[in-house]
Amino acid sequence: MRRAAIGVLGAILIVLLCAGWIAPFGYQQQFREEVGAAPCRQHRLGTDALGRDRLSRLIYGGRISMVLAPLAALVAVTLALAAGLTAGYLGGWWERIVTTAMDLCLSLPWLFLLLVVRAMLPLNVDPTASIVVTFALLGLLGWAGPSRVILAAVKRHLASDFVLAARSAGCPPWRIALVQVLPNLKPVAAAQFWVTAPAFLLSEANLGLLGLGVAEPAPSWGNLLREMENLSQVPSHPWVVAPLAALVMVVSCFQLAISTGEIEA
């Protein structure tokens, strides 16, 4: 199951990265005579209110979401590794500072915090800047959860027999942290990455749904979901849920990849 999930994710990623060749039209290309069209041979998922091909925007939007959410997760896990490792190893006042910052970050309502920070930025921000800002916020604010797990793992390893053996051999602290402990954090960090990446995908979707994510005309799965704001139209226009279906499939694959991996481990 895990391999299948990773396979599906890989296939989706390849399709999204080849958007330029696979997508039938550019994501900005308008068909003014076919505004709000139903699915047809030319537009498999119809067109939106501005006459843009939905399938093309779904593919291009997926590229932004699927590439940048894992990148943001990578940033968050890297920060978490740095914070957890230094706090665990140095201990003392630095550990107190890091754990207090963690507690503060975790006790804040995460989505509202993102909303506040995003709302402080100009709304008419350039699309590229909006992409960078959205995912940078996710990455920089999402370190606390993974950091707590990593700190616990660091503490466990520091009390292990192999660290005792390394210390008894006279190895200096920084080498113990980097050579002995860090490689053993790889499984924990990987698990945190697999948990965080889909969480960031959903967070971006939430921000996009509220109009605070990636700015138009750049597409993302989050801002494509805004078409669902008018729920009464969904039964008569079921193709507008395509971004939601894609999001659910990708997040499910992420969850299957990590959960069955844990069972197998």
């Binding site: 292990s160 192999f162 005792l164 053996a165 390394a166 008894s168 051999a169 006279g170 002995q180 053993n184």
Partner: protein, 351 residues
Amino acid sequence: MSFFAEALTSRQEAAVARREGVGAPGEAVAAPREPGPVGQEAAVARREGVGAPGEAVAVQHEAGASPKESAGTLRDPAASRQEAIVSPSGGAVLSVHLSVDYRNKPGVLRDVEFDIRPGEAFGLVGASGSGKSTIALAILRLLEMRGGAAHGSILFEGRELLACREKEMRQLRGRKIALVPQSPASALNPALRLETHLREAWLAHSPRPWKEARSPVRDLLIRLELPADEGFFRRYPHQISVGQAQRVLIAMAVLHRPALLIADEPTSALDTVAQREILGLLRGLNREFAMAALYISHDLASVAALCQRVGVLRGGRLAECGPVETVMGADLSVGLISPGLSGLIHATEAR
């Protein structure tokens, strides 16, 4: 040949060497209390035809020591403190006078006192939980990793370890005092290749790059009967046997030729054949590198095979201490252990 028979042979050889050789100059400076490293004496005497370091100690001990001392009983703490003033370490490489408390268990060790001469193998026996490994960690000043605190005095080559700063201790660990841990399976880092383990142990105390050290390390691995090919270097701990893992740990420990090797139950995780091999190896290293050894075990047979003197931990105190033959009171040739010691161990285990 059993452990006891091997030990006896070793001691008989030493006795022959003592009868035939003469003491080397300067040996008399060692404190005349206990016999020196018998196995080593025999080896050196055989090689050079003269008495080995520690021989004059043994002769003086036999000639002049009181029956109480020769019986290996505990020294009077006041007398030993007085002796420490005259001679900080009394010729010993290590002098320990130690009490240890854990956070939730105070008084784990109380006034445990012993010393180890250069080149001597000293055995420490006792039941599980009697504090044997605690002593090993206390000597290395690593007890805080297990939540313990040591009080008293640990003199190593005349230097008070309990007063040393952490940086000074790092210079001593691995270079002057090395540890062979109890469980090879958990003491080797599962995420690192064997070469990385050896490299880290090497770089901890040597400015020379690892590339230059690979050749002598290969020789050492061959000496320890390990494969020293590139494939072995690239293996992970789970890809080798427990016996091989223990040998790798021994290689890491003797890499810098320490003055004191602490072996904390190095054979407890091994089968009988591997136990025999590791004991032979430790005995060989003790002779070859003339390094003192603190051999911690609850296996009396291995202690009898390896050590010249032994201390018995009971109830947080060193209940007995002296030459193996005296403390164990055993007929080594047939492998019997004195009822007194056996009862002592069992009584402690039953507590």
